[in-house]
Symmetry: C2
Subunit: 246 residues, 2 copies
């Protein structure tokens, strides 16, 4: 038997997903809660989020029967919540079986910061060129070599990723969001894409220069990594029959 | 000259709007920031929010020239932000001139709590009867005696208030909101209305019993005060010519 866990967390007080000795991580906190119910397991996860990154639709799995979500929530700190915990098809693995991950990056675009967006969005005081941002999103769609958008020390067999969705959307008066879905993301990829797009949106880089990066240029030619607080793992897509599609 | 201030605050760490010796209040923090710019003033305010209540569209005023919003924000803690600070018509008074206040109450309605709604919404695990909630909102619209919905010790000349808007609206999948506007609100009025409506929505009180309270029944017959964390002062309405209408 295999269990599938759907969960939400505020990444602000976590050193990311992956268990690390002496650090507070989402995996560490969850595996401790599971162990406390008598279920010592190692979790597989769809998106190994970095320190400070949030999740609204993270998916994890472990061998064995699911522990009721309410029971786990009673053992978890308030910044992680189990949305559901259900039996999955035999052999389901949240990481290996994921077909695509959907991320959202939130920008607060107005002169004043907001007490309600502290740690929840990147604050940009100055207006952005929305057309330039959309031109970048359009260039990103499709299959490209994203070497420029992940730290050079990252060891990958291939640097190509297939972006199935990339679009900027207005959310209320003052929030602008990038929605981006790909088969998988390399480390920091979503945040370096945002950081570089913001250079284009504030007229410090041309759309053409952005597009050129997608052909496997080195990391040093791309822009900065946008802060973690604006990034959310929104959903993970699986083939039907492997649980909820998002 | 008169200045009008529009502001936002997360009420979680404040003992309410009104200055109190030895307590951290929004008025206290703002008047200190104004004093630090060399403008010692006493603020008038449209909505004297209670401890823990949030504001997204609070309006205050003071005699004299406005201090630039960016200058005040540099002096204010992150849980209060000045959205704008502008000259108002001679003699403008944020409290006296307000024609109506609009509040919103947010409920998170799903089995699991949310890391992103901590201190921002009241969590209700069990489903609510949406039709019953709407029937209550409909009854509340119009002019009624709200004695049942404010603490008995409150000294008021009149207990009648005119509710110009009251409706429940779905916000996303799991958030249900009451929007309520009245000429003015007595202390705790919005929260006791919500607390009593929630009894109706969970079948612990009839719609008829709710309606009967609107004829000046005593406080003891109404329901509990809903927690402050779900309540937001959204906007204040003024006659045109007295600044932005909301």
């Amino acid at each position: 038997m295999t269990a599938r866990l759907d969960l939400e967390y505020d990444g602000g007080a976590f050193a990311g997903w992956a268990r690390q000795p002496g650090r507070r991580t989402v995996q560490g906190v969850l595996e401790e809660a599971l162990a406390a119910t008598g279920r010592p397991v190692a979790l597989s996860v769809a998106g190994r989020t970095d320190a400070g990154v949030h999740a609204r639709g993270q998916v994890a799995s472990h061998p064995g029967e699911p522990v009721a979500a309410a029971r786990l929530n009673a053992l978890l700190p308030a910044d992680v919540r189990m949305l559901r915990s259900v039996p999955a098809p035999e052999g389901f693995d949240a990481r290996r079986d994921a077909r695509a991950r959907l991320y959202r990056y939130r920008l607060l675009t107005r002169p004043a910061a907001s007490p309600f967006e502290r740690g929840r969005a990147l604050h940009r005081r100055r207006p952005l060129d929305r057309g330039a941002l959309e031109a970048c999103a359009e260039l990103v769609r499709g299959t490209h070599d994203f070497t420029a958008f992940t730290p050079t020390q990252t060891a990958h067999v291939r640097f190509e990723r297939e972006v199935s969705r990339a679009e900027w959307a207005q959310a209320g008066t003052d929030v602008l969001e990038l929605w981006i879905e790909a088969d998988s993301f390399m480390r920091r990829m979503a945040r370096v894409l945002v950081g570089t797009m913001l250079e284009v949106g504030s007229e410090r880089r041309s759309v053409e220069s952005f597009g050129a990066l997608l052909a496997g240029r080195p990391r040093s030619e791309a822009g900065p990594t946008a802060p973690a607080c604006g990034l959310y793992l929104e959903a993970v897509r699986y083939d039907s029959g492997e649980g909820r599609s998002a």
